[in-house]
Homo-oligomer: 747 residues x 2
């Protein structure tokens, strides 16, 4: 069975890769496979040069011979350049795959040279092939040892070795990435959000507007460092006007192009619904006048919003004249009431999630309570449908329920296909809908940055994957009947029950890795959905150059939904490293392939919406540590069913040590991801042209439909923002000092 | 049984109180019962006035008639005056008892008007007195309801009412105490520790001494606020010299007094061991020369310590010229490496625990790991002896094992005495040794202030009391045999087992409350041990006035060991409020009596070693919330054994709501106990005569034997500390600002 499944999946993976290799060098697909370079402006359409045919199809034979070139090319770009090109978030993200290789390659070598021989030579399950339905794989697993075998001590020793190796790699990686982050932040040349603090829950003042209140408060409490502020306005009407104007301008460009091509032809359109009926007017004239009107409306609306106190949200972005001042304000408590004047580092302008800026303190805690309860129900009661599908995928059950299918199932071909694909795909379908729900839940929880939302979603998703994919497969898959008795089991029996099922599910998870991991990654690089969508849009909707830009869908990494899936592989690897080492090579292939593919994608395709400076790493680290603890507890459970009681005691220090390791790492590295050290805060501001204000005096983030509130420069902040500094600010008195952290050179 | 036990305990409590009332008005005991006033210098010994007899015995009859006067007197002092007199810590500590009254008086009224009638009129256990051995008390408890009775809904409703009432009182109290704390801190006139930050883990610098390094680091990174610093020195030899000199000076005073009384008599002493043999010398001359020699040695040693780089610890107290500057430094991270230059608010000079100032980061985390493991073993394996004693205290078991004792036990007198006293006393003896062990463990954990040590000890002790006193009594007491089966029970069965035993243990806990609570509190006010010790010392050891001062032992509240015991009463009250309300009046009497006694004690007796400004309140609040959650889970467990399945579902929201309530309170109030808001930091320093330095240039805290390190003004800090301010400091430019938190008037 497993051979056929492997064959199918390897074939489909190789197929995807081959198709990709051919399709990507066709000029017509250039914008699908290299959108990042277009967005950077360093690549222009190859369709403008050469003859007509070569605009669509690549006729250069030599390029076909080098069709696998993208692989070394993806690896060639050195890391500093990668950070420069794709941002630190992306560069660190692909390091997660590299971390997988670093952890599992040595573990695999050790496991195959020590554990596999030990398991294989224990002949317990050896030759009774008629008896129990153990697969051949089980001979290589821990199940091949008899009850109470002395050989379990080898496995216990290996569990310690694997744990300490994982500690070492994790610690080292955390250290490297922390250094990269600090280096990255230090090297960025005066990013405005490094001088800006987001202030929320500004209390209402009967005598002053929010703007005046903020001005007075910070002028008193941060007198030497306060520079300016920008109040957040709720300007939904204004936003829709701006959006409408943009659409009309695009049409105007289109008709101007038409006019330029064919100056004689009169461009007549109808003003009614979808241009199908209504009064006939001249297109150019019509759009010009409408845009002018809109501009006026916009100005009026802007005046209205500025003067309307109801449109002002109790939140503001406060800028300081030095990074030191901003660091102080972000890290300290402002008043004796900790529910007002809440300060934190401002997210990047692109990273702000505007709708959540104005949630009051009490509402926030109610929202979090409701979402915690909802997450519980979602996680634990979503299990029922998965378990149903899993038990349907059990062919023996199907045969029993639907005996007429027996002849079909019993034949080798369909049986292998169904067993190879069905369980993985059933899970996959469930998982597609999930990230959106979880992201919505995170939004309700009220986080103020997109990166924060993604991080919260990731941790929710990991919980879900662990309970439903991992535990759901292990427990419900082997014996759906066990589930009921499981609830009424003793506390110490639960790890035993799960642990006992672990070796039996190795085959299932190998299949899962091949379907979800190998074929999934290969499909990722092919970008089938964006490819089709681009060609549909290109054919039917693209009128102007701007439309073509928009038809291009570079996508992004989507940390919240992709990272927890990687974590599943870490979990599987750590759980099976001691139990069934045969699963490890499959995981290594996954990590290797994924590293290659995602490095290619972040270089050529993805366009990150924001840059958080690898703020997600503590979460990634924490989840790997969680997986390690889970693997240790399950190993204890498994061994205690094997009549090796002493082994349980011998393994107990492992989870304690792991949790301790987590706290050590947390204390040592996590502050670098939350706080900004004062020592680094020696940058002084030169001229702030705040990106929280655009030329239009109005900030609209890229995806305007999700917006509820908009922010633009308000009364008091304006004066300072315009001049860029207060009269008494000392722009270049940089107190560099004699003390400088090593390893942080200046550019 | 319970009647006799109550009688005995009430009698002993009343006896203690009567003895106290008589003993306290005897002049000879004045220093035992009013040491605080002596230490304050407002009371002089009454033995100096009147005739000889009245020096020792109070002959004034009228005072005997007013022998209960101390009770209203204890309540008379208004709270602001109490804070002024005894400190905020003490004033807030007695409010814990008041909080108990506030929570339980209304609950008792409700329980007796609703639950008791409901229980009493359910005649399930009614008249089969021959059958099961239920006490009369059980008729008033929930056990009197039959399986699956509809009346359980009344109890569920009451559980909600009690929970919400507790929420209300807890929230209100947290708010009041937070206001008191902020008020207290704002009113204190320029306390030096409000301008000082403790810096630990100062990294070694090859080119500079620690003092220079600190000076340079803060002059660069806090250039506008840095004032001075004091390095911590390890000066154990110096400390022992100073201590020795003190002892000799006391002898000198004694001999000078002797000489003054009787100038003719020659005072000859022997220089050998204990003055028993050796060379004979003139006493006055001998002590004078020895003290002079010691002074010289001290000077030499002091020079040696200052110049010896090995004596310098990598820790320092850094002072700022404004509270704002200190608040900023204490709350922010200094460098990108979060394991060096760790800053926190300096504890009060009296509050510093010197030996822990110099523990490196990694050692600290190893210490905490070891202590966590040790606490686990201490808590969970200490249970065995307790359970043994408990089962011995079970008279029926004793009868079975030792049948020859049957005639004695069966008689009413001894049976009552044993059942009334033994279980409580057995526990009590175990508990006496514990706080010292737990305090030692907290010290190993490496906290830097005495108040922090007390807080950590309290939370350890509470865990211990919960597991061993509460769970130990409930489970092992009823059925020692159950313990073994208990480990192998299902997760959801554990609350059921405990819950089921709860009603049966009501009698035991009533006895416990009377022994530990009533009689214990009455014994507390009598101060038997200090009374005896004082008279022994006064008779045999006191030679000079200084000796008499030292013979006086005012003691202190000892938060770490007393507060968790109060928490046990909260736990019992909350657990039994719904189950067996008859226990509530006993708890109310305890809280009332304890409030009275401790208010008297903090006014007249206790002398707190330090003042932390009620920093322990978040812990107190958290433990009451924990008790609430435990009571809810046990109620769910109890009801699910009564065939009232729906009730389990109806009660499940309660623990979720309680945990949420905890987080709301934490977010709302806890920062006030950890951080200092910048807005309040408007005090500017006038002149710092740091209490971290004494006149001797050396700081010795009161209990010198516990000291490992001593600190005194070092090289670079000295100059500033001497002048009190840097030349460029602006002493009185207080930027008060227009913004001021309401409710914080200035004095």
């Amino acid at each position: 069975d497993i051979g056929v499944a492997a064959g199918i999946n390897i074939l489909s993976a190789v197929g995807f890769l081959l198709v990709f290799a051919v399709v990507r060098i066709q000029p017509i697909n250039d914008r699908v496979y290299f959108p990042k370079w277009y967005l950077k402006g360093t690549r222009s359409s190859p369709r403008h040069i050469g003859n007509v045919l070569s605009k669509f199809v690549n006729a250069d034979v030599s390029t076909y011979l080098r069709f696998l070139n993208w692989m070394p090319a993806a690896l060639k770009m050195p890391e500093p350049e990668l950070i420069e090109h794709a941002g630190l978030d992306s560069a660190v993200y692909v390091r997660i795959y590299l971390l997988g290789l670093k952890i599992f390659v040595p573990i695999t070598v050790l496991a195959f040279s020590v554990l596999v021989p030990v398991n294989w030579t224990s002949a317990t399950l050896g030759d009774d092939e008629e008896g129990l339905s153990y697969d051949q794989i089980d001979k290589l697993s821990i199940s091949n040892l008899g009850q109470g075998s002395k050989r379990f001590w080898v496995h216990i020793g290996m569990a310690y070795v694997f744990t300490f190796w994982t500690f070492y790699v994790l610690y080292h990686e955390y250290k490297v990435i922390t250094t990269m982050r600090l280096h990255f932040l230090a090297n960025q040349n005066r990013r405005p959000d490094q001088f800006t603090v987001l202030v929320r829950n500004i209390p209402a003042d009967p005598d002053e507007t929010v703007g005046e209140h903020v001005e007075h408060f910070f002028a008193v409490n941060h007198r030497e460092h306060y520079l300016s502020h920008q109040v957040v306005y709720n300007a939904n009407t204004l936003a829709s006007l701006v959006e409408k104007k943009k659409g009309l301008q695009n049409w105007l460009v289109y008709y101007e192009n038409q006019h330029a091509k064919n100056p004689e032809k009169e461009l007549i359109i109808k003003t009614g619904l979808w241009g199908l009926w209504g009064e006939k007017v001249d297109a150019l004239q019509h759009y010009k006048t409408t845009i002018e009107e809109l501009c006026k409306q916009e100005d009026e609306e802007r005046q209205k919003v500025i003067s309307d106190p109801k449109a002002i949200m109790p939140a503001a972005f406060v800028s300081f004249n030095s990074q030191w001042g901003a660091a102080v304000c972000a890290q300290t408590q402002q008043t004796s009431n900790p529910t007002v004047w809440l300060t934190e580092w401002a997210p990047e302008p692109r990273d702000v999630y505007w709708p959540n800026l104005a949630i009051p303190f009490v509402e926030l805690s109610v929202r979090r309570l409701i979402m915690a309860v909802a997450l519980f129900f979602l996680t634990f009661f979503f299990m029922v449908p998965i378990a149903l599908v899993q038990s349907v995928a059990n062919l023996d059950d199907i045969e029993r329920v639907l005996p007429f299918l027996k002849p079909i199932i019993e034949r080798n071909g369909p049986r292998s296909v169904i067993q190879g694909f069905l369980p993985g795909i059933a899970l996959k379908i469930f998982l597609i809908f999930l990230p959106t729900i979880l992201m919505a839940m995170s939004k309700i929880e009220g986080h103020v940055s997109l990166s924060g939302l993604e991080r919260r979603t990731a941790s929710k998703y990991f919980l879900f994957i662990f309970v439903n994919v991992f535990l759901g497969s292990v427990v419900a898959g082997t014996a759906f009947q066990q589930l009921n008795s499981f609830i009424h089991q003793s506390t110490n029996k639960i790890p035993e029950t799960i642990g006992e099922s672990i070796p039996m599910k190795a085959t299932f998870f190998i299949t899962y890795i091949m379907v979800d991991g190998w074929a999934g990654i290969a499909a990722e690089v092919l970008r089938l959905k964006p490819l089709i969508m681009f060609h549909i849009k290109n054919t039917f909707l693209v009128r102007t150059e701007q439309d073509r830009e928009q038809a291009m869908d570079p996508g992004s990494l989507e940390f919240g939904s992709t990272e927890p899936r990687i974590q599943l592989y870490f979990l599987l690897g750590l759980v099976y490293a001691v139990v069934t080492p045969i699963i490890l090579p499959f995981i290594i292939v996954f990590f290797g392939l994924a590293y290659l593919v995602f490095r290619h994608q972040i270089i050529n395709v993805y366009n990150q919406q924001y840059e958080s400076g690898a703020q997600f790493w503590p979460g990634v680290h924490g989840r790997i540590v969680t997986a390690l603890v889970i693997s240790q507890i399950l190993l204890i459970g498994l061994l205690s069913t094997q009549e090796a009681e002493q082994s349980t005691v011998a393994l107990l220090p492992l989870p304690v040590l792991t949790i301790w390791f987590h706290y050590v790492c947390k204390g040592r590295f996590e502050p670098a991801y939350i706080k900004c050290p004062l020592q680094a805060g020696s940058k002084r501001i030169l001229l702030i042209s705040s990106p929280y204000i655009t030329a239009d005096d109005i900030h609209i983030v890229s995806n305007v439909k999700r917006e509820q509130h908009l922010m633009f420069a308000g009364g008091h902040g304006e004066g300072h923002a315009a001049t860029g500094k207060r009269p008494d600010a000392e722009p270049e008195r940089v107190p560099q000092g004699r003390i400088r952290a090593p390893g942080l050179p200046q550019r």
